[in-house]
Amino acid sequence: MSNELNLDYSLLTPEFCLGGLAALILALDLFAPRFRKEWLPYLTAAGLVAILVLSLGWVNKESDFAGLIFIDNYTTFFRVFFIASTAVVALASAHYVQARLSNPGEYYALLVLSTIGAIYMAASRELLTAYISLELLSFCLYVLVSFSTSDRRSHEGGLKYMLLGAFASALLLYGISFIYGSSGSTFYDEIAAAYAGGTDGFELGLLMGLVLVLAGLGFKVAAVPFHMWTPDAYEGAPLPITAYLSATSKAAGFALLLRLFSGAFMPVRDDWQWMIAALAAITMVVGNLVALQQSNIKRLLAYSSIGQVGYMLMALAALSSASASALLLHLSGYVITNLAAFICIIAWYNLTDKEEIRGFRGMAERAPLLAAVLAAALFSLSGMPLFAGFFTKFILFQAVASEGFLWLAVIAVTMSFVSIYYYLMVIKEMYISEPEEPGRLQVPVLLSGLAVALVAGVFYVGIYPRHLLEVAEEATKLLFA
């Protein structure tokens, strides 16, 4: 690292704007009694879209802020990714928040603030910065998960999430302290340089550091055996926040893991590769098998997302430039698909108050568009051809197998077949079972429009995956430079 620090604050403009947006939302909520609260989600989404356009100005640029935060294509990719998914969640929350939650201002402000944390998790190349960003995201999520005052599951889910999350942070920090002790630095490139010079004499400290860091981050992305909080937090959280948890918080965890392991721990690859491979294998198996016996749609999607984490960890175990771009591709496909599924569930829940799987009976008759989109999303999650899930999984499994982890790819394919069963259970309820009550439901234009837009994205990624893959390759190129 050079002694001249680059303190160019303009690099961080999108995040300053996000902070400003959050402050504006809070201020409007507090000091402008004439401002109609129903407009908050639209204001949030409009602000986010403007910031998204702004952050496109950094495409193909490369710079760093004091060596702590790197603004390159990888960061830009995740900036766009996180801001877009937050905007979708904000819009999807509009009806839900108005009907069921108090204090909408805080809700949207926390949503926007958590996006800053997520972006810096992807952007930071220093352990302290990464840790602070992780906590910024986590704290916002703790509060958001326990946001509902009427649903008693919400506080309980939030408390469990927070206890386990704080515990995981302590493990992560203890791990970081050993990484710092064994390498003498908290900067990713200096850690890599220290380890490249041989690890004799601190092999034990390094191993402890790696195990603890993996355990701590494993909690955050919900890898088995650190997944206990996931189903409870997913079930307790307000529905749009469940969608947000499954999309942004997961993607941010992987953005951090990918940058950390490719940036700092590449020289000691032999020490951690088998750990992540083992984690990936049990995560896939447990996530998909436990999903089979769920009766609540939130819990079903919680376990299905744990299964998906297994696939993504696999790419991390077989870390190469091919598997990194495959990971980004799969992550984007998964988030688009999952958001589409959750928007249908939110719309259905707004109209019927049902979130049990058998509550979806006859959805095809009562809300045909929602049922079609949800079915498409579930097919995509299970990896059917034509849908996004097929190609992203195909490219991911291929990248993993070509790195010598054929056995992991075999488990992944097997578990994908298992997953078809529980996704089909939901589709069966929607299309074959008789509805409990007759009559068409009037779905708001906003939600059906969002659902259609997202499902169009699912097909786009499924049929023309090359475009997104090229973007992902561009984004990960520098990680392995």
Binding site: E135, L163, F167, A170, Y180, G184
Partner: protein
Amino acid sequence: MDAPVLAASVALEDVLIVGGALFAIGLYITLAKRNAVAVLMGIELMLNAVNLTLIAFSRFVDFSRFGEGTRPIDGHVFVIFVITVAAAEAAVMLALVVAVYRHRQTIDIDRINVLRG
């Protein structure tokens, strides 16, 4: 300046052992206690063990490759941030505990069990 005396009598290993013991105690409390506030205290203990370890490393680790006489203060800065985050964590957690208590009249995490884990 009594630093050289200290350095001679206390080795890195000693501090690390104390830190490890603190961390283990915190871990035990976190896993064994059923009261949410006690669990929080266990977590705080773990964070303090981390602080001790970080300080020890930044005191003892060989930084000669950064140039003669320079001593990065990463470890110390890290500790400041950990303390700050721990305080924020306690604030959010206690608020949550109060909210749960209002609903259930208990903060025993075994009895807060509408969700099935």
